[in-house]
């Protein structure tokens, strides 16, 4: 979680994004609206650090708040509480003008390569826009810079006058990446950059992102529901469930030795492209759907689907604690001394932590 070792580029402290859906007022009572105030806690007290030069993977099912979290870091959605530290500055509380300046260093790659490019602008204008907005170059040098960027992401320089519809999904995603790189950022939030692409193109984009990271010393927050891609790209992985981080650790460890029951289920649900492994493995099948974020279950949000839930899980909200070295999990049924929930279950040990 939060360690102060100077290597941190981004540090989130108890970040919150709550959406007020109304209800509970006088008008609601007489018009038959919701009798209580309804709040969606899309991001509910998230704290973690992103180290310089690393890729932090953020996984979770749809509706868990991972995209909102990514946007809140860049203030594309206003956080309702908490802090985002970048270079000693709290981004969450900067003025709009000051934040705008910071966007030079913080960029985003979007999920949908079809919707995130203006169809009426040429590729040259799309990639050149951030350069012009921040006055990073003038006149002809803009065009040169644009064409260099196109080459960096693997697009032909000649395409500069073309429009987005003339490109395939993978090429469009390259354009989106070039646009993000135009201001020479330090940190990029990549929100599901490969989900809309074909399998053979996904590998190309992942390789491109890795190449650019080494060349330009970039730091990524890689948001995806594709656990295989996250495993491939990330140094560390954070697992999110209903607005909270439930597990965080080195990618290798989270995948080979998941601690929290939700992570266990999530990883076991990933189909492996190998029939011999598929035939042998037993899958943890979770019952039910992700509960509504409007009224998440009390205590541990996962208790309604958790095979190991006990009465206390409905009461105590688990905190993210270090179970193994640099491997954090939020579950009251495990602790550093008793890290295995299966064994605790077998021996009847409750381990009510926190």
């Amino acid at each position: 979680m939060t360690e102060n070792n100077g290597n941190n580029l981004i540090s989130l402290q108890n970040l919150q994004v709550h959406y007020n859906l109304g209800g509970g007022g006088f008008i609601d009572k007489i018009t038959g609206g919701s009798p209580v105030r309804r709040v969606v806690k899309a991001v509910d007290g998230v704290s973690f650090d992103i180290k310089k030069g690393e890729t932090l993977g953020l996984v979770g099912e749809s509706g868990c708040g991972k995209s909102t979290l990514g946007k809140a870091i860049l203030r594309l959605t206003e956080p309702t509480g908490g802090q985002v530290f970048y270079n000693g500055k709290d981004l969450a509380n900067l003025s709009q003008t000051a934040m705008r300046e910071e966007r030079k260093n913080l960029q985003m790659i979007f999920q949908d390569p079809y919707a995130s490019l203006n169809p009426r602008m040429t590729i040259g204008n799309i990639i050149g826009e951030p350069i012009r907005t921040f006055n990073l170059a003038k006149g002809e040098s803009v065009d040169n810079k644009v064409q260099d960027l196109m080459e960096t992401v693997g697009l032909n320089r000649r395409f500069v006058k073309r429009y987005p519809h003339e490109f395939s999904g993978g090429q469009r995603q390259r354009i989106g990446i070039a646009r993000a790189l135009a201001v020479d950022p330090e940190f990029i939030v990549a929100d599901e950059p490969i989900s809309a692409l074909d399998v053979s193109i996904q590998a190309q984009i992942m390789n491109l992102m890795e190449k650019l990271q080494t060349e330009k010393d970039l730091t990524y927050l890689f948001i995806s529901h594709d656990l295989r891609a996250v495993r491939h790209l990330s140094d560390r992985v954070a697992v999110m469930y209903l607005g909270k981080i439930v597990e965080l650790g080195q990618g290798k460890e989270v995948y080979s030795d998941p601690l929290m029951p939700y992570t266990k289920a999530l990883i076991s649900a990933v189909p492996v492209p190998d029939p011999t492994i598929e035939a042998k493995r037993t899958r943890i099948i979770l019952t039910g759907d992700v509960p509504s974020p409007i009224n998440p279950p009390s205590g541990c949000h996962f208790n309604t689907r958790c095979p190991y839930a006990i009465a206390e899980c409905k009461k105590i909200e688990p905190q993210l604690v270090e179970i193994k070295s640099k491997h954090y999990a939020a579950c009251i049924r495990i602790s550093a001394d008793y890290p295995s929930i299966e064994e605790n279950e077998k021996s009847g040990l409750k381990v009510v932590g926190n």
């Binding site: 399998v199 890795e210 295989r228 495993r231 189909p271 492996v272 029939p275």
Partner: protein, 339 residues
Amino acid sequence: MSNQNGTILSVTNLKTYFQTEDGVVKAVDGITFELKKGETLGIVGESGSGKSVTNLSIMRLIPEPPGKIVDGDIIFDGIDVRKLSIDEIRKIRGKRIAMIFQDPMTSLNPFLKISTQLMEVTQLHLKHSKEQAYQHAIKMLEIVGIPDAESRVNSYPHEFSGGMRQRVMIAMALSCEPELLIADEPTTALDVTIQAQILELIKDLKTKLGTSVILITHDLGVVAGMTEKIIVMYAGKVFEIAPTAELFATPANPYTKGLLKSVPDPAHEQGTELYQIPGLPPDVAHLPPGCPFSPRCEKAQDICVREYPPFVQINENHFSLCHFAKEVYAESLKEREVN
């Protein structure tokens, strides 16, 4: 029911073309395969490879014009599907061959209760009375694991989550106990934990009801655990067909090999570069004269650009469309031994 050798569906040299402003698009161009009773066949391919059109052709759901089945035979349980009149095919569609679509959000009618939509199928095909159909709808919802089916049957689609809607779709598809179920990307729109639930459900129902299944997907992981046989499609053609275990162990086509290698393997060390197939998926309206994969293929020689490749038989059940199929197969065998 089925004929003597247990084949439920046989497709021979199927060609479905579309007339577009850009010329003739050969969406499916000469596909041949056989499906045995109780078997699950996986069809894998990227977008535009023709996997969905193949199955829409089997159901005779190709919009005409611009599309047209121009050649080939589709024999379902001894019936020549191409020769059937609209009325006759309607008696098969939904009753003996059922389909689950990719998007559970748009394939249910938002104005009608789940019960109405489920009852329609059995009232039409099984001549159920209203009461019978209603009871049957509840039973089907129970089978697909919808809790509290008796009250949920009167809900509208928007009251269900994505995974639940897909269960409703499956309930509807299985209402008449079809002999063939075509599932077109049934889990693509769903989260992994829900995907696991749905795949488990399809597997379960298949064993219980003995339904034959065609599973269309772009995810090699999904077909690995679900199927007995796999077809790999590219640019409207069958590039490789083989029993599942053999296809994964010893692929005989460079495209299949590339696809398998480009999936990130959780066991691999982070930081190692992922294998990538270069280039872009082909423009099906303007295919090169030779092998459609040749512009992206590492192994491509002059002959690949010049001549259309032969469909090479590797062994009894394994075929590959490639000039160098035997060499690629031998290479896969060798790689297998090393590992």
